[in-house]
Symmetry: D2
Subunit: 351 residues, 4 copies
């Protein structure tokens, strides 16, 4: 029963097959191969506009590289206190950009336009404080919730008015989109997003993310940045082939829809045990829950893989002594049976 992370599973077979197919013959290196060029075109087509798209190998690199283009050494990027860039990337944004991150708290893993606006309004130190240059939001969020289009638009509007760029950490963008049921364009640039990290690894690829600039002018020298960061793969075909397969016939959305469905089912199954609370809506492929620590230990002992989750939690539901805050993640490979077994186990174990 694997619910530790969506990176605990391997790659989707179609993507692996595409890698194997790309192996024959010679190809131009460093991303000038036909697979990569095709993948870049596919991304433009997907987003219904000219984009500057760059394939890289990890989500941390995608985020840090994306933000390095809009954050100078004296700048700061606003993000949720518990955003991945702030808590799980070991200072990568700071390394690549030289700047800093400013974590703001928002309930349920999301920031609101009001939170950002109030923070900006309170600034009075001028050059003594890092200059706010961008906002980074995570879609779907660190708590498995999904920003609605209207929420993104309001955030983007405030940012635009104040001269801040908007970055979306879309490590689980596919999962958010499967829930939003709108077009990729509507969920990003039409809502005011300037740059995104478009994730694929967690949703079926081996190692693949893309940095996508909706305003290609922002990407002017990005090839240099990617190279300098050690993210320019010599045998670039192996990234291009993954991306092409990932997007082909909507595989990426099918995988996400599958994972999301399993997560919703899991939330439902877990609720059978009355001692488990699910304090935030399950909107993507993660289920966050509060449960007795005794139950947590018992489930682990019975072979359920999932983690206690650090941080303050949802902010709206108090974790009592003796309880713990946990996270379950589903993936394109999670089976209904696996969820059912976990549900039964949780139900049997009681509190």
């Amino acid at each position: 029963m694997e619910f530790a992370s969506d990176n605990a599973v391997g790659a989707h077979e179609a993507i692996l097959a595409a890698v194997a197919e790309a192996n024959s013959g010679s190809a131009r290196s460093y991303g000038y191969d036909t697979w990569t060029i095709g993948a870049e075109a596919a991304l433009a087509s997907l987003f219904e506009r000219e984009v500057a798209a760059f394939l890289v190998m990890t989500g941390t690199a995608a985020n840090a590289l994306a933000l390095s283009t809009i954050c100078p050494s004296y700048g700061t990027v606003l993000c949720h206190t518990e955003a991945h860039v702030n808590t799980d990337e070991c200072g990568a944004v700071e390394l690549y950009s030289g700047g800093r991150l400013t974590g703001l708290w928002g309930d349920g893993g999301k920031l609101t336009a009001e939170i950002v606006e109030n923070w900006l309004d309170a600034l009075i130190r001028g050059e003594h404080e890092s200059k706010p240059v961008a906002l980074s939001i995570t879609q779907s969020s660190e708590l498995g919730t999904v920003y609605r289009l209207e929420e993104i638009k309001r955030l983007s509007e405030i940012c635009r008015n104040r001269g801040l760029k908007v970055h979306m950490d879309g490590s689980r963008f596919a999962n958010a989109l499967a829930t939003l049921a709108c077009s990729p364009a509507e969920a990003t640039w039409k809502a005011g997003v300037d740059i995104m990290s478009f994730g694929a690894t967690k949703n079926g690829a081996l190692m693949l993310e893309a940095v996508i600039f909706f305003d290609p002018a922002l990407a002017q020298d990005f090839r240099y940045r990617r190279k300098q960061a050690g993210q320019l793969l010599s045998k670039g075909r192996f990234l291009g082939a993954q991306m092409s397969a990932y997007l082909k016939d909507g595989l990426w959305l099918k995988n996400a829809a599958c994972a999301n469905g399993r997560a919703r089912f899991l939330a439902q199954e877990l609720r059978r045990n009355r001692s488990i609370r699910i304090p935030v809506e399950t909107e993507a492929n993660e289920v966050f829950a509060i449960m007795p620590r005794r139950l947590f230990d018992a489930l682990q002992a019975k072979g359920a893989h999932f983690y206690e989750w650090p941080g303050k939690g949802p902010g709206t539901d108090v974790i009592e002594p003796g309880e713990c805050f946990v996270r379950f993640v589903t993936s394109f490979r999670t089976s209904e049976d696996e969820v059912k077994r976990l549900g039964n186990l949780a139900a049997e174990l009681g509190s």
Copy 2:
């Protein structure tokens, strides 16, 4: 006729197969999987000692991360003027370490103990100049030559006496070793190397390099550095599996020996055309040549892929007006027939 680079070919079938095999089931992420642990152990065994080995995805990242552990912001790493770190990594070492590189010239792509010693002896500026903290040598070198064990030992000795660490950029280490015909241990730590970048991508992997610390104490916090640099792959199994296959049954040395043999054969073939000079010994899998630009253009037109090479060249053989300096690279996939065809073509075209 593909002689542009050893990264223009795909991956070796055995390595691709290992990736596919590693795809089934769940695994711990971030390099704590059994494939990676096995690969780390295999590297220790290969080098006949305890090592701290870390898998990363590009040679640029391997070099920059390795050097970041020994070069502070006020430090400088000595290297050959035309070393890959100095000319082809877009400032990656500077980004990761904050320090700088100091290029020294040596004929034939190699530095000698005397060159390094003289440079160190001439330092008189104290804190006004970056502090020399390490030497980085490329094995096999940027000109396809191979440092002999005695040469490495003498360089290491001077460095040790002056408090400098020794890094080896072993992007083509396999090719050098195939020529040296000694053990990996003899070619590295027994000759005084402290840290190496152990390349696999150019010699059969999809995307795989290892940073190897022969003194594990130097690697103390390297996990943090790798993560911060965006080089910690979540589905780490896909790197571990490649490395295991790369080392298994000496595949890496067989690939290198094949490539080297083709290069020697190519040098011999090219010499059939009297207007082609080969100014440095072909000791690994690269052939550097000086040829009339007219011949260069004619060969390209007939479908031979190889590059004019930037930089000053060997330093000992003058490139005349009307001539150009070029590089041919062979790989584990280069066939005898391919070499023969190029040789015939060159012979036919004359000057």
Copy 3:
């Protein structure tokens, strides 16, 4: 009525005179002059031990350089959320060290051993999060409070046990010491402080701070760092002369005692107006107060210079709507009369 900052006044006459005296004749440059060497010796004598002391020109540089020696790119320095390094230095620590700061909240401008310990205990992300490497405390604190020796010792003990170094931002160290009434040694290294920024500018110098390493081994390459940071003054005598005059005959402590006395008097005077609350003890040369915004505006209009203070305030006394949180700073030049005039004005203006 100047209470805006202790940097709004000029330099003490004795220090200015020392600068003028140092102007004659030739001297070795870059800090190898006799004034500087004398000042370094005076600091060692003051702290009753061998120290490595380095003169620099701003507090921001002192803090950032000090922390750069103990914080690698993947490290993080713990500090109070409202510490000067975190809020008023525009990312200088991040620029010089490459690492990041982690702000922790503590009431009254101070961190407690418990706060630091709990935070360290909650870390579970390993290499995914920046590694805590040091604690920086401000003495006197951002809210004009003073850490007691026992508090520093308990903080240092926890840090030592966890492998963290302790830095003291002593931009107003003289003011703290005047209150603690102990020796400089007792207030620093005997209480476990490893490195300090020893401030002089706010307390009478023109531009002068020292970075002091109580363990000279930590300072090994500091001369390089200072040079690289643009903080090595060519005509170093002008810093050495200032420091010698600053320490001579206890001028620094007399200045601080004067400023502290004026602050205590000011707090007393302000309390005559019942609408003014002083929520934290006035322990050094700053008075923090909560007052009606109407009163704030009226005082400003009458020529009182002081600032509304950003940040969350003391944490224990709620700022009501219509109120504002303000700071008054006294200096060695503040006169009793100036305080009295402000006190009278505040008393007359009512709420």
Copy 4:
């Protein structure tokens, strides 16, 4: 006999007096005082146009901050191999900008348009190599020579055509200007310079340099950069007062003319000894000479302070075994008598 450096002498009395005068009363801190605002206006007037001028405390900081505004992490700044930024600033440009420097060789301490153009023309590596973004020239140069207006214009033209900015390290700009006998405007922005480091410390100030942007748009966020670099002085009046006094009644040019005159006289005096060669024209306040090492030692022993000079020397005059390359520097304080004494001594000592 002090010829070691123009920073071995103190400050000019008028500048010291201005510092003392600025000491009375309160003033706005952080460069918003009237002295600083006046100095900024004086610089604009001096250069006959709107400029954005920022006072800092060291030449290293001025250069590194100036270049940080035009050099991103993946960029490189071209400069002479022996430029101060490249050899004597311990990686400051790299620290502040994240980018790198590329040293090009030019005889006599100067680069020519042809050298720069040829280097740019030879670039073929694209994103694999740092992107050239700026040229930095030193005026007067590292060898005491002076770029003519025509030379600067031709360099600037090439840079403009290729998208590179031009920076002038004017640490000894006054000395160059005294020789050029043109207006400051003609010597800088009218000749195509975008940003300059305007030195004052070596020519009479205590610690003072200005970064001047001839296109204020380039300076947009420079206040943040200066603060982040620890170069924003709280008691900014002490810099403003220095600059005002430095410019007042042409003090800066008088000082420079004096120093230059002494240097020319010194060159003439040294030539009395036939074993001394002066291989580059003495155009500013430095005399470079080749002399027998025996003579060098003898002069030192007799109390002449000057240095053996590192680096390759002029490039046009070979330094023979038994000889050494040395530098003499004169300043506004150097007396005719001091020069005469050295001249006599050299003449007496023979070879």
